[in-house]
C-alpha cells in the first residue's frame, strides 16, 4: 500500500475548530458515509446477524453459533472450501510462475515487446462471464478441444474438465489463468524495469548465468512486487464467483461450488439469510487471516526501519 504521507498543509487559523475546513468536511460526506455506514456498518451488521436464525427476513432471534455449526456440517460448504483451496493454491503458484516467466521473457530486450504485452493482457479487460463462456465452449466435449483431438486420430483422448466432477476445478483454473496472468505479468515487468542495470553487469562480471541471476539475485530483490502480486491474486481468488456461474454453474452436481456462490445462493435463492451471513463472515475471517500478516510485514517493518 503506497499511501504517501505528505506533510500537513498549514492553513490560516480560524476561530472555531468545527468550521475550520468546513467545505472540505462537507465535500467528504460521501466518503465518510461510505466508510462508516456501508463498510463498517454493513460488515458489522452481517457479522451480528450471522448469530440469528434469520430465514426470509432478518430477525433477531439469537441462536448462538448454530448457523456456524450447520455451515461446517454442510457437504456443500466443505466442497466449496476444498475447491477454493485447490483452485487458490494452484492459481497462486501458477500465476506467479507464469507471470514472472513472461515478464522475464519480455524484459530480455526482445522485438515486438508491446505486441506480446498487448496479447497477454487483453483477457484482463474482459468480463469473467465472457471468459467463462468462451472456455465453456472450447472445453465442450462434443464440439470443442476433445472432439478436435479425437478427429486427428487419437480416439481415446479424454479431456472433459467441464462435465467431469474430478477435474472440473482445473477447467476453471485454465480459464482463470488465461484471464489473470496478464495483470501479474504487467506488475512483474514494472518491477523488473525498476531493477538497476548495474546488477546485471555485476552478475555478468562474476560469470553468473542468466537463469541463476534471476533466481538468486533478481527475485529476492523483487520481494515487495511479489507480495503485492500475492495480495492481488489472493483477493481475486476469494471473490471467485462470476467465472464459476458462467462456466459451470457450480456443476456437475456440486463439484465446482465456491464459497462466494454458497453465500449468494443461501441469501438470495434459498432464503436462508442466517446461513448466508455465517458463510460470508467466514469469508471475512479468511481475508483477515491473510491481511493481518501482510499488514504487519508491510507497515510494522516500515515503522521499525
Amino acid at each position: 500500500m503506497t499511501v504517501t504521507s505528505d506533510p500537513p498543509v498549514q492553513h490560516a487559523k480560524r476561530p472555531s475548530r468545527l468550521f475550520k475546513n468546513l467545505m472540505a468536511k462537507l465535500a467528504s460526506i460521501p466518503m465518510i458515509l461510505t466508510a462508516l455506514v456501508v463498510f463498517v456498518g454493513g460488515t458489522t451488521w452481517t457479522v451480528v446477524y450471522s448469530f440469528t436464525g434469520s430465514r426470509m427476513l432478518p430477525k433477531t432471534n439469537w441462536v448462538g453459533f448454530d448457523q456456524y455449526e450447520r455451515l461446517w456440517d454442510s457437504d456443500r460448504w466443505i466442497i466449496s472450501i476444498k475447491n477454493l483451496g485447490i483452485y487458490g493454491s494452484c492459481s497462486m503458484i501458477l500465476t506467479l510462475v507464469i507471470g514472472f516467466t513472461l515478464a522475464a521473457c519480455l524484459d530480455r530486450k526482445i522485438r515486438f515487446e508491446s505486441a506480446f504485452r498487448t496479447i497477454f493482457l487483453y483477457p484482463f479487460a474482459l468480463s469473467f462471464v465472457v471468459t467463462g463462456l468462451a472456455w465453456q465452449w472450447i472445453l465442450n466435449p462434443d464440439f470443442g478441444l476433445q472432439n478436435v483431438v479425437r478427429g486427428w486420430g487419437w480416439e481415446t483422448f479424454n479431456f472433459n474438465p467441464i462435465n467431469d466432477p474430478d477435474t472440473v476445478i482445473f477447467g476453471l483454473l485454465i480459464a482463470g489463468l488465461w484471464q489473470g496472468t496478464g495483470l501479474i505479468m504487467c506488475i512483474m515487468l514494472a518491477g523488473l524495469r525498476g531493477i538497476d542495470e548495474d546488477i546485471w553487469k555485476a552478475a555478468r562480471v562474476d560469470g553468473i548465468g542468466t537463469v541463476k541471476t534471476y533466481v538468486f539475485v533478481i527475485i529476492p530483490m523483487m520481494r515487495p512486487v511479489f507480495v503485492t502480486s500475492l495480495v492481488l491474486i489472493a483477493s481475486g481468488i476469494i471473490k471467485l464467483y462470476d467465472l464459476v456461474v458462467a462456466q459451470t454453474g457450480g456443476g456437475p452436481g456440486l463439484a465446482s461450488e465456491v464459497p462466494a456462490k454458497y453465500v449468494i445462493e443461501f441469501m438470495f435463492r434459498a432464503q436462508n439469510l442466517g446461513q448466508g451471513f455465517a458463510a460470508s463472515t467466514m469469508m471475512l475471517c479468511s481475508v483477515v487471516i491473510i491481511l493481518i500478516p501482510w499488514a504487519y510485514l508491510e507497515f510494522g517493518g516500515r515503522k521499525r526501519a
Binding site: 500500500m1 504517501t4 505528505d6 498543509v9 492553513h11 490560516a12 475546513n21 467545505m23 472540505a24 467528504s28 466518503m31 465518510i32 461510505t34 466508510a35 463498510f39 460488515t43 452481517t46 432478518p58 513472461l102 521473457c105 519480455l106 526482445i110 498487448t118 496479447i119 493482457l121 487483453y122 484482463f124 479487460a125 474482459l126 468480463s127 462471464v129 465472457v130 463462456l133 468462451a134 472456455w135 465453456q136 465452449w137 472450447i138 465442450n140 464440439f143 478436435v148 488465461w178 496478464g182 495483470l183 506488475i187 483477493s235 471473490k239 464467483y241 462470476d242 456461474v245 458462467a246 454453474g249 462466494a260 449468494i264 439469510l273 448466508g276 460470508s280 463472515t281 469469508m283 471475512l284
Partner: protein
C-alpha cells in the same frame, strides 16, 4: 610478410558479434509465440464460431475457419435471442449497461476526485482515519456487505432500479479511485495551492480552476478503470437489478446458460463477443493508459 601481419591486425576486433538467431533467442521467441497462441485461441474460436452456421458447427472442427461466412448469429444475438419470455436479444442489456455506465462514471469519478483533493490539500481531523477505513474496506469481501446494501436500497426506494446500481458502483469504486486521485493531487507542487489560497481562492475555486485542468490525464485513467470495471460487473448486476434492468453481462449469462431450447453455439459466441466488445475496444484504443490504470489499481495491493 609485413603486409600480411598488417592485414590480419586491421581485421575486426573484439568478440564475434552475436547472431540474432542464437539458440537462446529461438527458445525465447518460441516460448512467447506458443504462449501468445494460448492467449489468442479463445478470441479466435469465438470469432470463428460466431461466423458459422449451426450445421457447420455440428459436423466441423471448432478451430477451422468458416466455410461459409454468415452474420446471421450476430443479428440474432443482438435482436432476437431469448432470455425466459423476453426475445428482444442483447440490445436491451446493452441499453441498460450504457444507462448504468454513464451516471456511474460521472458520479463515482466526481466524488472520488473531490475526496482525493480534500484528502491531499484540505486535511481535517479524522480525514486520514476515514481514508484508511475506505482502503481497508476495499479488501472486505463484497459478500459481507451485500445484504445490508439491499436493506439500504429498499429504504431509499432504489432497490431493483438502475439508480440503485449506480449508487452501488459509486460506493465500491470509491476506495481505488480516491486513492488514485489522492496520490495524484499529492504530487502536484504545494506552492501552487498556497499561491491560490493567498489570492483568496476557496475550496471549489481551487478545485475547478486549478486542480481539475491539471488532473486530466488521471481522469482518463480513472475513466478507463471504471468503464471496464462497471461494464464487466456481474455480481452487483445480478443482485441489485431485476430482469427489466439487467446489465449486459447478466443477460448474456442468462441467454447462454438457459436450459430451454436448442443450444445455438454460434449465437452464443456472437453474444459473448458483443458483450466483450466495449472493454476490448477501450483496451486496444487506450494502450499504455490502460496499463497505467491497472498499475494504479495494483498499487492498491
Amino acid at each position: 610478410m609485413p603486409d600480411m601481419t598488417n592485414s590480419t591486425m586491421t581485421g575486426p576486433r573484439g568478440p564475434k558479434p552475436k547472431k540474432s538467431f542464437s539458440r537462446a533467442n529461438i527458445f525465447l521467441y518460441g516460448t512467447l509465440i506458443m504462449v501468445s497462441m494460448y492467449y489468442l485461441l479463445p478470441l479466435y474460436v469465438m470469432v470463428v464460431t460466431s461466423l458459422k452456421g449451426m450445421p457447420e458447427i455440428r459436423m466441423g472442427n471448432v478451430f477451422s475457419p468458416p466455410m461459409e461466412v454468415t452474420f446471421e448469429p450476430w443479428v440474432k444475438a443482438w435482436s432476437e435471442a431469448c432470455t425466459g419470455i423476453n426475445c428482444d436479444g442483447l440490445s436491451r442489456g446493452f441499453g441498460n449497461s450504457v444507462r448504468i455506465l454513464i451516471p456511474s462514471i460521472l458520479l463515482s469519478i466526481g466524488i472520488a476526485s473531490i475526496n482525493g483533493y480534500a484528502l491531499s490539500n484540505w486535511k481535517f481531523k479524522g480525514s486520514e482515519v476515514f481514508f484508511t477505513i475506505l482502503i481497508i474496506g476495499a479488501f472486505i469481501p463484497y459478500q459481507t456487505m451485500l445484504y445490508p446494501i439491499v436493506i439500504m436500497l429498499r429504504e431509499i426506494g432504489l432497490m431493483g432500479s438502475i439508480g440503485g446500481l449506480v449508487l452501488v458502483h459509486t460506493v465500491f469504486g470509491m476506495p481505488i479511485l480516491t486513492l488514485l486521485f489522492r496520490n495524484y493531487f499529492a504530487s502536484i507542487p504545494e506552492e501552487l495551492f498556497k499561491a491560490a489560497r493567498v489570492d483568496g481562492a476557496g475550496f471549489w475555486q481551487i478545485y475547478f480552476q486549478i486542480m481539475l485542468p491539471m488532473a486530466l490525464p488521471i481522469f482518463v485513467v480513472a475513466i478507463i478503470l471504471q468503464v471496464t470495471g462497471i461494464w464487466n460487473d456481474f455480481l452487483f448486476g445480478v443482485i441489485y437489478t431485476k430482469p427489466a434492468t439487467y446489465p449486459m453481462t447478466v443477460q448474456l449469462n442468462n441467454i447462454v446458460n438457459s436450459v430451454q431450447g436448442i443450444k445455438e453455439y454460434n449465437v452464443n459466441m456472437a453474444a459473448t463477443l458483443l458483450t466483450g466488445l466495449v472493454p476490448l475496444v477501450i483496451y486496444f484504443a487506450s494502450g499504455k493508459l490502460f496499463v497505467r490504470g491497472i498499475a494504479a489499481g495494483a498499487v492498491k495491493g
